[in-house]
Symmetry: C2
Subunit: 324 residues, 2 copies
DNA sequence: TTGAAAGCGCTAACAG
DNA sequence: CTGTTAGCGCTTTCAA
């Protein structure tokens, strides 16, 4: 471990000049530079990015806070963020809030203490206090997938519209009963999920159709699938793929055939659907692009460039064998 | 954004005393301390961890390098590492090497530049040059799942033994033909996968059985499933679940029934298997524990404590419907 | 119990 | 073209 100061001593030259050589800055004799670089190379010099961060006032680091990494959705998001960040010479600190609002605050505070240049947030917190808090941390921030407020830049899709289209797809297939399967966290609200539920309500209203709604914290514990009792042609519209897959397991367990007896539809199109049969009908969420755009936009905010407050990306209904 | 220096100015007191208050160190008057803390609280003081890192010579950060985050295996590993690290007050920098040996070197170098206190590595590189390199970076390091050398602490399982047991399970079920389905990276070797293949070879030898071996870079492009041509009762033993799931899709596509026509077995027991039918027979890899132990051990190394060079955790064959 | 000073490794501004 | 100096925010001696 050698420092630039030591290189200066070895070369019997000033630290300023060493810095000029090491960082390719002008105002240095070609030969001196060459010599310094040679010594640096030989000694295996690596710049200390911590010191550099301190003096430059930026760390070239982006912090990411996600709810929970068990849902494949977040892994995919993280992959995309990491890749794009690396392309832009940023590094990623990631933290998991475990769907807990206090832990989320801790995560954010810690990221701020670590002087990240910006934060990408998929948040469970909401409300005025939270907005105040976000304001005070004084760090560029962008919310993804989960809308917080008009004051916080957002990247995601139009969840309500997407659910409406999903409903239409289901009804177009001739289903005469439709059950929305929502997910509730114990204490918190996830705007995206609320929007999807709201979208369902609105869709039903607009289409003058009566839809059932079933919201639980864990679908696998929901033994009473009352929607099934009717002899109508029923489809379950799930708030996300994770829930849909769990429901599929429950139905499987009960010996209820999909799609022969009931239909099922998910949301997000997470990558593991590739391996699930019957192929799940779902709605494509442009996860990759959200990640890329989030990094891109965040970096623009960091550089004080103007960015749109809201970026709504395209979604797309995806057909699958789970609906017939 | 207020600094401890500014707090000192506001309180009209020296920086040393402020430090004592903020960090709960002895040698300070209770009232002075109370006052300083009150001011700090009011001003929303947050310590600058970058400065702290610089002066303390440690960042409380662990760097993680993984091959590829698309395989669910690595997500699970990462989740576990993040959780355990957080418990121990460490933060995680993660980087993806994209199964590329040069990129892996870059990732490691970058982590070192960022002064991580230690590195957890699932590496594609091997050999003397690489070991030399690892030696020179002068940073505590631990390898997980993928053995590098006796000089680098390792945490994982006994892949060879596990594969042997898998073979035994298959043969015990009366299969008369067994095809090992391996995965090859374009340019690199993954010790874990090599070990599994070697384990298969040895098992066949010991059991005096002739096993077929099929190694490809992408099983979905392998159209010639020659192992099927026999009229024996055939099972595919895959080097990991990812490959097994892809193979399952291929078989599905060809209209070949699992397990009625052929059997299939995976390796790792990644979490998405929950959603796959038929339930895949596999070998449980204690991913969570690997992550936890890796963090634990790494922190011990960082604190100059003695640790075992090799930690071999238990695996377990898991039955499933994909074998009959 | 408190203050003053030096320094972590690097950069930036200015002077020579 | 090169050297000097000051300073990023914090910790850690050593004196007072």
């Amino acid at each position: 471990v050698i420092t630039s100061k030591e290189i200066a001593e070895i070369c019997k030259i000033s630290r300023g000049t060493v810095d000029r050589a090491l960082n390719n800055r002008p105002g240095i004799n070609a030969k001196t530079k060459e010599y310094i670089l040679k010594v640096a190379e030989e000694m295996g010099y690596k710049p200390n990015l911590v010191a550099q961060s301190l003096v430059k006032g930026r760390t070239m680091t982006i912090g990411v806070v996600v709810l929970d990494l068990n849902n494949r959705f977040f892994s995919q998001l993280l992959i995309s963020i990491e890749r794009k960040a690396k392309e832009s010479n940023y590094f990623v600190y990631f933290t998991v809030a475990n769907s807990d609002s206090e832990e989320e605050i801790n995560c954010i505070n810690h990221l701020v203490s670590r002087q990240v240049d910006g934060i990408i947030l998929y948040s469970v917190n909401q409300g005025k206090d939270f907005l105040n808090f976000l304001d005070k941390i004084n760090t560029p921030l962008i919310s993804v997938c989960n809308y917080i407020s008009d004051d916080v830049p957002f990247i995601g899709i139009d969840d309500q519209q997407a659910i409406k289209e999903a409903c239409k797809t289901i009804l177009d297939k001739g289903y005469t009963s439709i059950v929305y399967v929502g997910l509730a966290l114990k204490q918190h609200h996830i705007t995206a999920l609320e929007d999807r539920l709201m979208g369902f309500r609105k869709a039903m209203q607009e289409m003058k159709f009566h839809g059932e709604i079933m919201v639980s914290t864990d679908i696998t514990k929901e033994t009473d699938l009352s929607g099934l009792l009717t002899n109508k042609k029923t489809a379950f519209l799930c708030c996300n793929d994770e829930v849909a897959l769990k429901l599929l397991n429950v139905l499987n367990h009960k010996g209820i055939q999909v799609p022969q007896e009931v239909g099922i539809m998910g949301f997000d199109e997470i990558d593991v659907l590739d391996f699930v049969r019957p192929q799940l009908a779902t709605v494509n969420y442009p996860i990759e692009e959200v990640g890329r755009q989030a990094v891109d936009t965040l970096i623009k905010i960091i550089s004080k460039e103007d960015v749109p407050q809201k970026l709504i990306l395209d979604h797309k209904v995806v057909n699958g064998e789970s609906l017939q």
